[in-house]
Structures are given as structure tokens and as C-alpha cells.
Amino acid sequence: MSPGFLYFLETVLNGLMTGVMYSLVALGFVLIFKASGIFNFSQGVMALFAALTLVGLQTGQVPFAHLINAIFGTDIHHFGWTLPAFVAIVGTLAVMVAFAYLFEKLVLKHLVNQEPIILFMATIGLAYFLEGFGDLMWGADIKTLDIGIPSGGSFWLEDVTREWATEGSDYFGMYIDKLDVVAALVAVVLVTVLMLFSQYTATGRALRAVADDHQAAMSVGISLRNIWVIVWSIAGFVALVAGIMWGAKSGVQFSLSLIALKALPVLILGGFTSIPGAIVGGLIIGVGEKLAELYIGPLVGGAIENWFAYVVALGFLLIRPQGLFGEKIIERV
């Protein structure tokens, strides 16, 4: 194979992997949208918050240390322990569930049956709040997240692919980040489980009913409160997974919350309501933007990935306005 073709393959492969990383974030959006028709703006901040909490628990940081020190004039920062990754993850999950419970109790409960844009706005309020809260709780400095996921390029793939190149070319093998591979595996498992859950269980059906019509769902005895706590907890879990993957890549810091923006084109391409859509959408966007950046980018000066992703999504939307796998928009009178 010619190196040019191998480079192309490499780009596609890496695009797919990047796409999976986007999907992890998009998945959180889909879950909440599917279950309540809410476009959860705070998904990115939730990922950040989860990652912060994970690192904080793992390294034994004292929450609100800054505030406590400021008020009481103390000087505490660490409990002096370090927790094993697994324990910290469980602890973080507990925090996310508690968070889901509180959010339902304090906010969502009061906003039943409101228009989608109002609920959207509430999640923006939440994003603000959580952003300040996360910083206050764990501090704004950058943290290293290490729960032992392998990362770095895979030698194995490099060795294997080097053989493929035509004799004499100085091709040195294909690159793939091990972290991405782990993320892809996790994503596949996650999507499969969530898809089965939503299609084949009574709770899954109830989720979809709630998204259609809050009031009618209540009238048949679906408890909005429970459904929402469940869904926001799951979304919190997905946010944690996304936070771990992205946090391992770039450290845990505020910017982590901005990955939500990369998930949005994935979301509309796959469809707001479709779990497999999140994956397929991610793959298409990932490949599309990488190819564009590498093959079109140099012609126009680069950094076109960001908007190109949206243009790809837009192109698909013009053909299918509800996204590839989204629920059909019912137009009837």
C-alpha cells in the first residue's frame, strides 16, 4: 500500500477514535433529552464536576478548603489519604446521584410541563452554578487525573502497519492512542447497555413517554420524580466516564467543560433522541473533521475542524431534519 493511502487510513482511524470521544459526551445529552425532552446544557460542566470530584476524592483533597480557610483562618488542604481509583469512582458516583436527587427536588420538580426552552434555560443556570460550585469545592487549578488507563501511541499497531507500506517508503507505521481505544471499548459497552435499557424495559418506555408529554405521563402513573432522578444519575455516570477520558488527556480543569461544544454537532447529526445515533454521529463527525482538517485545511489555512463539524451535521440535517436516527418530527393537523 502506498503511504498516502495508509495516511488516509490512519486519518480515518483516528477520526473514528476522536468521534468516539465526542460520542461519550453526546451520550449524556441524549439520555436526558430522551427522558425528559430537556436539552441539558450543563452536560459539559457535569463532566468537569465529576472529574474534579473523582480527582479530589482520590487525592484526599478537602472540599471547600479555600472557603473554609478564608472563613476560619485555617490552613487545611488535604486529608492526607489517597484512595484507590475504584473507590474514588464509586464515591464520585454517589455524589452524582445525590446531585441528581437534589436537582430534581430543588429545580425540575417545579418546572414540570414547561416549554423545552425554559427547561433548557434552567440547565444553563445549573451549568453556571455547578461551574462556580466545582471551583469553590475543589479549586480552580489544574489537576492530573490518573486512574491507570493506558495512554500513548500503540507500538503494536505501528509495527504491524509498517509492514503494509510499499517497499522502500519510509513509512513508520500507523498511530493510534491507547486511551482512545479504551474509550472506544467503554463507549461500545455503554451504548449497548443503554440501548437495551431504553428499548426493552418498562422504565425505558416510561422515559420515552415522559419526553413526549409530561402531564400525560404523570396521568398514567409514571413518577416523573423517580424517572428524572434515575436519568440524571445515569447522565451523571456518563459524564463521569467522559470526564475521565477527557481528563486523562488534558488534565482536569475548567476547559474540560467546553468539550460539550464538540459534542453538539454529533448530537444533531445522530439525533437528539437516539443512543446509537450518538455513536454513529460521533464517528461521522470525527472522521469528517479530521479528513477536512488534514486534506482541506492546508488549502484554506487550517483550524477548520470546528465549523466543519457543524457543516457536516448541517448537511445531513438538510436531508433528515431529525438527524440520522432521531425520532421523526410528527407533522399533523
Binding site: 488542604h77 500513548g152 467546553l258 479530521k290
Partner: protein, 408 residues
Amino acid sequence: DLMVPSLSYRTGPYAPNGIPYADGFADYFTLLNERDGGINGVKVNVVECETGYNTEKGVECYESTKGQGALVYHPLSTGITYQLIPKATADGIPVHSMGYGRTSAADGSVFEWIFNYPGTYWDAASIIVKHISDQEGGDLNGKKLALVYHNSAYGKEPIRTLEELAKKHGYELTLLPVDHPGQEQKSQWLQIRRDRPDYVIMWGWGVMNQVAVQEAANIRYPMDHFIGVWWSGSENDVVPAGAGADGYKAIAFHAPGTDFPLFDDLKKHVVDAGKAAGDGSHVGEVLYNRGMYAAITVAEAIRKAQEMHDTKDITPAQMRDGMENSVIDEARWAELGLPGYAPTIKVTCSNHGGPGLGAIQQWNAETKTWSLVTDFMEADREVVDALIKEDSEAYAKENNITPRDCAS
């Protein structure tokens, strides 16, 4: 009181960098106040204002503090600097964008109130190229250099200089922009992996740095051929990448670390006394030291102004004079408790850009320390000065400014 505003950012996407800087800035003045009772007996009042690296908030900070007798502004963001250049000029308050901001502000005859010593981005770019050339035995012909940069005003700064230098040295330059915030750089690094440039230069900030260092480590790019500007060379940028970051380089205009007598005073009078701005954990970090460096330039300019105008409570206009005549030579650095910390600073009427010297520092992942690996080097004045002149003349023309006569 001497009022010194500190436009800091302890929140938002760049907080991890803003915090140590602001701490260093504040702690130095706390030290002066605590140890010496201020500057020549007058206490310094540091008024911190949170900008979140956001232009509008920066303007608000400027407006709210300027009435209180602010002596000099360190905007700490390219965007805010550009806002303040016309405003502060009109208001008659000096702005010191130390190693950032508008490069051509180095031309003091056009930018009367704006300072960017001890060096500009164009200095930095040329010094980095010089270092590369040194490593390559002085010949860059046919070499490939890539610039990975934050796709914004800041990141675009070195391009013109690097292009000029490419003409001069005959290397080939590839430009790789990265969009804010820079979490996703796979394309850029795949391209680097394919093109195999001999050196990669980086103009990044915030999460972009961390990801770039991580990706470089992932593709096993030789880290000592990867050189960042001084805003891409702090602990924050390399620690997340762990061992992979070992050998990464960055330019600096002052030394890292706490290996100076001043830090003993600092520990005694500030940190241990519980008066530190932060929790003391950042002391000695690159950006902490940079904040401290900024504070020193302010303090020294104040001293100079006091001396020149024979008054203790100086005005912003007097402060400007003080800055314009600042000299911190090696002896003075030693006196300050920082022998060998940084090269001589000298500012003049026509040169607000200072000496334009820089050294290369390198990261040791094992000891988790930065250390200088070269001497302070001079920028390629020939190329840089011409560019500065061109740009400042354009600015003067656009804004109807008649350059001052600095000769007299």
C-alpha cells in the same frame, strides 16, 4: 498609598495559569510592605480585580480602578491589552504588557504609555530560532519548522517574524493553528507525525499547552525539539503529560525555582506569616516567578519615579517616567535577593521593549523542575526592529500620532 491594580484571573479557562501569576504578583508587594514597610516608606496597595480573561470584565476592572489612582496596569491578556492601549493613552496611565500584548508597543516614540519589556513575542520567536540554529550547528537551510499556535491574535503574533526569519535562514515553516480551547489536536499532531518537522515551536495558552505536550509525547516526538513560548512553559503545561514531557523546552526571560535568597524572606515574611495570596503551593513555579518578576518591575519603576520626581506618592504620569528610565542591572538583581535571576533590564524613551533577551529552559520530568539550559540570548534585532518599526508606523498613521522625538 501606592495603588497598583492587579487584573487577575482565578476563574475561567485560564485560571490554572492566572492563579500562580497573581499570587506571585501580590506576594512580592506583601513582602515589600511587611519587610520594608513599603517602597521608601510608602505602602503598596495591590487592588486585585478578577477578569476571568474576559475583555469586557477587563474593561470594567480598568474603569473601576483607574479613578483610585492606579499607577500601572498589567492586563495579563492580549485582548485586554488591546482594549487598554487607546484608553490608557487617553487617560494618561501606563500599561505594562510584560512579554505579551502588542509587539510594536516596544516603539516608545509612538506608544508613549505602553510598555512591553523585557521582551516581545518577536524577540522570543527570533531567540527560539537562534537556539534551534545553535543546536543545528548554525545552519537551518532546508530544515523544517512547524508552528503550533493558538488561533487568535496572541497565537498569530510570531508568524510574521518566523516568516521573515525563514527567508533569512532558509528553513521551511508550516503553520498549524489550533482553535480555542484546544482540547482536540489530533489533526495537528498527525500532520506533525507525517511531515516530521525538525522542530516544533508552540504559541499556546491554557489547556492547549497540556494537550500539545501530551500529544507530542504520544507520537514520541523528540521533546527537546519542541519549544514553547514563555506562556507555554510552566509546570501546568507539562505535569499532566507525566514522564512523556521530559525534555520539553520553552523560552523564558527569568529563572525558575526558589534558589534565591529572596525566597527565604518571602517564606519568612509572607508564606509562614499566613499572608500569602494563595496557599503558598505555587511559590517558585514558573508563572509565580513571572508574577513576581512583574511586581519587581513595578516596584523598581516606582522607586525610580520617586527618585526622579523627588516625591513619595507618585502619579501615573510620574510612574511612566519611572518605567521609561528603569534600569535593573545584575547588581540590582543581586541586591533584590535574586542574583542571576534575570538579565539586565533597561528601558528607554524609544525602546519600551527592554533588552529583548531570553534563555531556554527545559523540563525534567523526574525531578519535576524546570532549569535554564542556555544563557540569555539576544534577539535578531535586525529583523525584529524592522518589523516593529513597520508596524508602529502603520499604527501611528492610522491613529494620527506624531511620534515623539526621543533623541532630545
